[in-house]
Amino acid sequence: MHRLSGAFIFFGVAVLLYLLELSLQSESGFALVLQLMDNLLVKLLVWAVVAGLLYHLIAGIKHLLMDLGIGETMKGGVIGASLTLLLSACAIVISGVWIW
């Protein structure tokens, strides 16, 4: 999952960079980004990339904690994995609400 989301956002970051460039370029570019974000397909695309990023971020924090020796037991691993999925799901839903 971490690898899959990583590979996905490797390509998805291009979408965010494009929108960032456009939004910073000029007043009209900024307005165009807002206009693009009204489009359902653009919304879904941006949400997908943001979802990938959020999951990768939260799972990444879990990985770093485990590197520090936290939650390395079997029980800790299960709790960590459940917590990662739960927090990611919450963050992804919130980001979806924010995009819409």
Binding site: R3, G6, A7, F10, F11, V13, A14, L17, L20, E21, S23, L24, S26, E27, F30, A31, L53, L57, G60, I61, H63, L64, D67, W98
Partner: protein, 122 residues
Amino acid sequence: MVTNASNLGRSGLFDWLMQRFSAVILGAYALCIIGSFVVNPDMNHQEWKAVFESNVMRIFSLIALLALCVHAWVGMWTISTDYLTSLQLGERATFFRLLFQAGCALIICIYLIWGIQIFWGS
């Protein structure tokens, strides 16, 4: 000793460490951007531009961009050496793996140059 010729630092331990360093930087940057949205959810163009125009943010953005390049390379390299091997692809595995890695390197270069233009251009 046979070592891999395409990994980042000629040493797995170095790659491992770089992956984690860059991860921390990218995590901090992501939280910073999310924070700016939380603090000011309805920014206009001027405010949005101001976020990225300060020198501190420009430097932070550049560091995050470099971290992204390192992180993406180590990550995509790991994926390619785990899933594009002779086990899956047979004799031509090395060719396809290097082709894939070259494609990733090209994309990373594009991100780097593009990113510098966005954060430091004009």
